[in-house]
């Protein structure tokens, strides 16, 4: 068993607070439901789609479920908006995840480092180009999906306002973006949560919110350094003054 598996106060730090984990959890539920009910429609002619539709309670129930899940997504999006606007922590995090020109340089630097052109590894912060790309791509995807979805859902109301072609475009956009999201989410999550080095079978940080110091040092060195200067000595002091907790094993 490797060291990072322990949830020791000293070896892991909280990366995702409860707020974020709950938002992520609700998002996960709604997106999985949306994908399953959406895929059922997209693949209605295959046996896979037919089984999905059957499981979802028939064709019309599938649509109702899809819209119910969409409402949850809209709620989470709205909640998130309130979180970044009105909560101090949310606002600070949001400022940190805003894209900067440096992110692009970091990305190029990382590519160069990966292939061996450069020996200098870019020093990434709490939110690197990867997290920023994930976050902003998903914000964009969600906006597109919510907008095109509302056009399709409320077509009867919007019939007088929008030209006919806009509904056809909404269908194409909704299906196209949905497929794109499915691919990006699946592939990226598979890599960063399940199959990436040190992650298998699953990285539990989405549940407990914690990241190992080793991983922090590797992937977010700037944040690690800040932490090492400010927080770790204090913690160490706290731990040393307290009675040492018994350990089953020592990695």
């Amino acid at each position: 068993m490797s060291t990072e598996a322990h949830l020791d106060e000293l070896q892991t730090v909280e990366r995702l607070n409860l707020q974020v984990r709950i938002q992520h959890g609700l998002l996960m539920i709604s997106v999985i439901l949306l994908i399953l009910t959406g895929l059922a429609l997209l693949f209605r002619e295959s046996s896979f789609g037919k089984v999905l539709i059957e499981l979802e309670g028939g064709f019309e129930m599938r649509g109702t479920l899809h819209r119910a899940a969409a409402l949850l997504l809209i709620f989470v999006a709205f909640y998130h908006l309130c979180y970044i606007l009105f909560s101090r922590r949310g606002h600070e995090e949001f400022l940190q995840i805003m894209p900067r020109a440096r992110d692009f340089k970091d990305w190029l630097q990382m590519l160069a480092y990966d292939v061996g052109i450069s020996i200098q590894k870019p020093k990434l912060d709490r939110y690197s180009y990867r997290e920023k790309f994930q976050y902003w791509a998903f914000v964009l995807f969600t906006l597109i999906m919510i907008l095109s979805g509302i056009v399709l859902w409320q077509h009867d109301r919007l019939f007088g306002l929008l030209p006919k072609w806009s509904f056809d475009v909404a269908i194409a956009v909704h299906g196209g973006t949905g497929t794109l999201i499915l691919i990006v989410l699946t592939l990226w999550h598979l890599y960063i949560v399940h199959l990436g080095p040190g992650r298998f079978p699953i990285d539990w940080s989405f549940w407990n919110g914690r990241i190992s110091l080793k991983q922090l040092q590797e992937e977010h060195p700037l944040e690690y350094e800040r932490l090492a200067v400010q927080e770790l000595p204090a913690r160490k002091a706290r731990r040393d003054s307290a009675p040492r907790p018994t350990r089953e094993e020592d990695g």
């Binding site: 429609l41 209605r44 539709i53 028939g58 064709f59 019309e60 990382m110 590519l111 480092y113 990966d114 292939v115 061996g116 020996i119 590894k121 077509h155 009867d156 109301r157 919007l158 019939f159 007088g160 306002l161 929008l162 030209p163 006919k164 072609w165 806009s166 509904f167 056809d168 475009v169 269908i171 194409a172 956009v173 299906g175 196209g176 973006t177 497929t179 794109l180 691919i183 990006v184 592939l187 990226w188 890599y191 990436g196 080095p197």
Partner: protein, 358 residues
Amino acid sequence: MKGRVSAAALILTGTLLLIMLSTAHGQIPLRDPNGRCLLECHGDPEFKEETAPGQYRTLYVDYEQFKLSVHREKLCVDCHTDVTLIPHERRPEEIHCLQCHYQGNVVGAPITERPEKYKESVHGKALQHGNPDAPDCRNCHGVHDARAPYDSLSTVYRMNIPKTCGRCHLDVYTVYLESVHGVAVTRGVPEAAVCSDCHREHDLLSPQDPRSSLYPMNVAGTCATCHANEELMHQVGISAEQVEAFKENFHGIALEFGVLRVARCTSCHEYHLILPSDDPRSSVHPENLAQTCGQCHPNATDNVAKGKFHLIPSNPEAGIVFWVSQFFKWLTISVLAGLFLHILLDLYGRLRHKATGG
């Protein structure tokens, strides 16, 4: 059996008599075994019976027409089997086509499952329920003048079918004649849809019946028999992909899964008054679309005419929808490839630096 023999004997003697009495300019060929019936009574155009005071019913049989019918080889008594004595004393019983046209008959009467289908049809049901106006075989196929369907003078010849149905369904017939199909039939285009192409012939069922060709879920398939035919649609200059596009679109998909309230072909294109979209009278003319769509979508305005119909997203004719689909197709492919490459690079970098201890 005995009756048959005596009837045959009678006819024989009758015929012999007729031959002996024959005159050179007689209208009825006297060698004909049917001659007795005709010569005595039914060959006279004035021959009639009084059904009510002052009302008459003709009993005349146009023998020339009979000799051109599919039954030309038959004897009168082959069908009117209860006539065993000529002249007959009683009014012969109603005859029924199923006397001969049944499965396994030995007189060579052509038979399909059609008579059975007829019993299930709206006409057959109406007849069973005692509707005196309900048609049976004779009303469409004719009586003594029944001709084969491929005979251009037959009442059931393709091009004559609208007229035949129109004898009862006059209002529909007049509307149909205005339609693109009716006009084509009038012009003599044999491929144009006639009543039976959509409604079927013997298994003509109510549109509420799931077996009907016009049950909501079956309408597109019925239209597709012609409208998905490349060759035929090329001739009339319209796309053969309309039905396919419909099936791939929201209405068609919902219908496929049994949502019966959604629009099918006829909801927008009308049932009988089907007209091309450039005809101002057409329900799908751009000016009329707001009203047509408004049947189901009350908020519809002229905006519904701004766009294309029957889109196939992979077809460049779909315009903006084609380009949006293409954009997403290539975006998805490149994102997929890019993400894969990025993950591979990341893995490669990590493993390489792990190995070198960097």
